[in-house]
Amino acid sequence: MGALGDLARGFEVALTPENLLWAFVGVLLGTVVGVLPGIGPALTVALLLPVTFSLDPVSAFIMFAGIYYGGMYGGSTTSILLNTPGESASIITAIEGNRMARKGRGAAALATAAIGSFVAGTIATIGLTFLSPVMVDVALEFGPAEYFALIVLAFSTISAVLGRSVVRGLISLFLGLAIGLVGIDTLTGQSRFTFGIPQLLNGIDVVTVAVGLFAVGETFWVASRLRHDRDQVVPVRGSIWMTREEWRRSWKAWLRGTALGFPIGALPAGGAEIPTFLSYTIEKQLSQHPEEFGNGAIEGVAGPEAANNASAAGVLVPLLTLGLPTSATAAIMLAAFQRYGLQPGPLLFERNSELVWGLIASLYIGNVMLLVLNLPLVGLWVRLLAIPRPYLYAGILVLAGLGTYSLNRSTVDLVVLYIIGAVGFLMRRFDIPVAPAVVGVVLGPMAEDHFRRALQISRGDYSVFVTRPISLAILIVAALAIVVPVLIRRSRGRGDSR
C-alpha cells in the first residue's frame, strides 16, 4: 500500500493544470537544448537551472524532472544524426545509430531510441517508486562513517572505473574537491580559500563549475582546433513507424537494457556508461545478426538507449534517498535542492513527501509527453542540428553568461566562470574527464562533514571507519575500484610491449 498511496498523492500534485504546464515546458526546453550538438544532459540541466528559480519548489522540481528526461531524449537524437555523443553514455548510440542513419534507416533508429527510452524510463520509474522507500529504511540505519564510506566509493568509481586513465580521473576529482573547499567551514565558521573576496564566502556554485567546464571549456577547445571538414547532418529517411521485424528485434533489447541500466544506476556507485557498454556486448552476443553490429544493428541502438535511460532513473534512487549524486547531472540536481534549502535523504521523504512524490509522478508524465513530442516532431528537432557552428557556440556562451550571472547577480561569479573555463580547456586538451570534478565539488563538502562528524563521535579515533563492518566493506570495494583498473592496465600494457 505505502508506495502506491504515496504515488497516488504524487499524481494529485503533478496533475494540476499548472504543474502539467511546467512539466511540459520542462520537457520542451530540455529537448530543445539537449538536441543542440555539444550540449549533454548535465549542461542542459545546468544552463536551464535559472529558469526554475522563481517557481515554488514543487513546480520547480516537476519542471526540472522534465528538463532532465528531455535532455536525455534530445541527446540521443543528436548522437544518431550527427555522431556526436554529448556524453560518454551515448557513445554506443552514436556508433550504431549513426550507421543506421547513413544506411537510410535513421527514422527507425530514432523511433527505437524514443520508444526504448519510454519503455525503459517507465519501467525504471516504477523501480524507483518501489525501491526508494526500501532504501530510505536502509539509509536511516547509516551513521556518518557509513555515509563517508559511500561517498568514497562514489568518488573511486566515478574517477577510476570510467575513462582511460585512473590518474587523470583522480586529478579531476581532486581539483573538484579543492574547488569545493572554498568558502566558510560549516563546523567552525572559519573562511577557507577565499583570498579575502567576500563573494567567495558562500563557496563556488556547482552550476558555475559545470557551465565553466562543459560549456566554456568545450567552446574554447573547439575554437582552438576548429574543424573545417565537418560531417554533414544525415537526413532522416524512412518511415518513423518501425516495421514488424524491427519491433521484433527491438523489444527484447529494450527490456534487457532496462534490466541492466536500472540496478547499476541505482547503486551508489553509479554511472550510465557501464550498463550501456554491457548492454551492447550482450545484444551482440545474443543477436542472430552479429555481422550487422558496427554497421547499424537496431538492437545496438535499442538496448544501450534503454540502458542509458533506465540508469538515468536509477541514479535518482541514491540522489533522493541518500542525498548522494553519482553523475554530473545528479550533482547539479542536488545543488538545485540545496538552493531551496532542501537536503535529499531519508528525511526528505518524511518532511517533503508532496515534493518527492510529485517529482516521481511527473517522471511518468514527462515520459509520455516526450514520446508524443519526439515521434511526430523529430523533423523539427533535426533542423536544430543544422544551426551554423558560429551561432551555436556564440549562443552557448550567451546562455553560460546568463546562467552564471543570474545565480547571485555578481560579476565575481563570471570571473570564476572564466577561470574554471580555462581549466576546462586544459582538461579537454589533456584528456582529463570533467565529470569527476563536478561530482567532487558537490560531494567533497558532504564527505568532509560526515568524516569530521564520525571522528567527533569516536573522539578522534580514526579506526571508526574500519571497525564498523558496513563502512569497512564499502571502503574495501572503493579501494578495489581504484586498484583493479590500474593492475589491469599495467598487465595489458605489458602484453602490448611484447
Partner: protein
C-alpha cells in the same frame, strides 16, 4: 597548420614536455592548497578535527597525483590524442587567434554587463564569439545577437521574474 609536417618522434617529444608541464601544474595547485591551508585560522582551544585536516589531505593528494602523472609519462604511458568530436580536430595545433578573440569577447561581456546592461553585453558577446568562430557577416550577427538577447531578457524579467541589469537601455522597456 599542416598536419603531419613534423616527424612522429618530435611530435611525441613535445607531447611529453606538455604532459610534464601538466604534472608540474597539478603539483603547483597542490602546493597552493597546502600554503592556503596554513592561512586558515584555528582557535587554539578547538580540540576536534579542525578545518585544516581535509584541505591538507586534498593538497597532499594533488601533489602525489602530479608525481604519479609525471612517473606515468616518463615510463611511456601516454594516452594519445583526445577524443574525437564533431567540431574539433584534436590533431590540429592550437589556434591562438580564435582563442584570443573568444577570450576578448568574454572580457568585454564581463566589463559591460552591469554598465551597459544584459542586452547590449550579450549582443556584443554573440557578435564577437560568432566572428571568432568564423562567421563573416558582422551586421547580420549583431542583429541576431540583439534579437536573442532581447528575447532572453524579456523572457527572464517578465516571464520568470528574475532581475537582470537593464543598463543603458533603462527606461526603454
Amino acid at each position: 597548420m599542416e598536419r603531419g609536417d613534423q616527424p612522429d618522434s618530435s611530435r611525441s617529444r613535445t607531447e611529453i614536455v606538455a604532459e610534464l608541464a601538466l604534472a608540474l601544474g597539478v603539483v603547483a595547485i597542490g602546493a597552493l592548497v597546502l600554503w592556503q591551508t596554513n592561512e586558515i585560522r584555528v582557535a587554539p582551544t578547538y580540540s576536534r578535527i579542525g578545518p585544516r585536516v581535509v584541505p591538507t589531505i586534498v593538497g597532499a593528494g594533488l601533489i602525489l597525483l602530479g608525481l604519479w602523472l609525471a612517473a606515468d609519462v616518463l615510463t611511456g604511458h601516454l594516452t594519445g590524442p583526445s577524443e574525437e568530436s564533431e567540431d574539433a580536430d584534436p590533431t590540429l595545433p592550437t589556434d591562438w587567434r580564435t582563442v584570443g578573440l573568444l577570450a576578448a569577447s568574454l572580457v568585454v561581456y564581463l566589463l559591460l554587463i552591469e554598465r551597459a546592461g544584459f542586452v547590449i553585453a550579450s549582443a556584443l558577446l554573440f557578435t564577437g564569439a560568432a566572428f571568432a568562430m568564423g562567421s563573416r557577416h558582422p551586421i547580420r550577427d549583431a542583429l541576431l545577437g540583439l534579437a536573442v538577447a532581447v528575447v532572453l531578457y524579456i523572457g527572464f524579467t517578465e516571464g520568470l521574474d528574475l532581475r537582470l541589469p537593464a543598463g543603458w537601455l533603462e527606461g526603454i522597456s
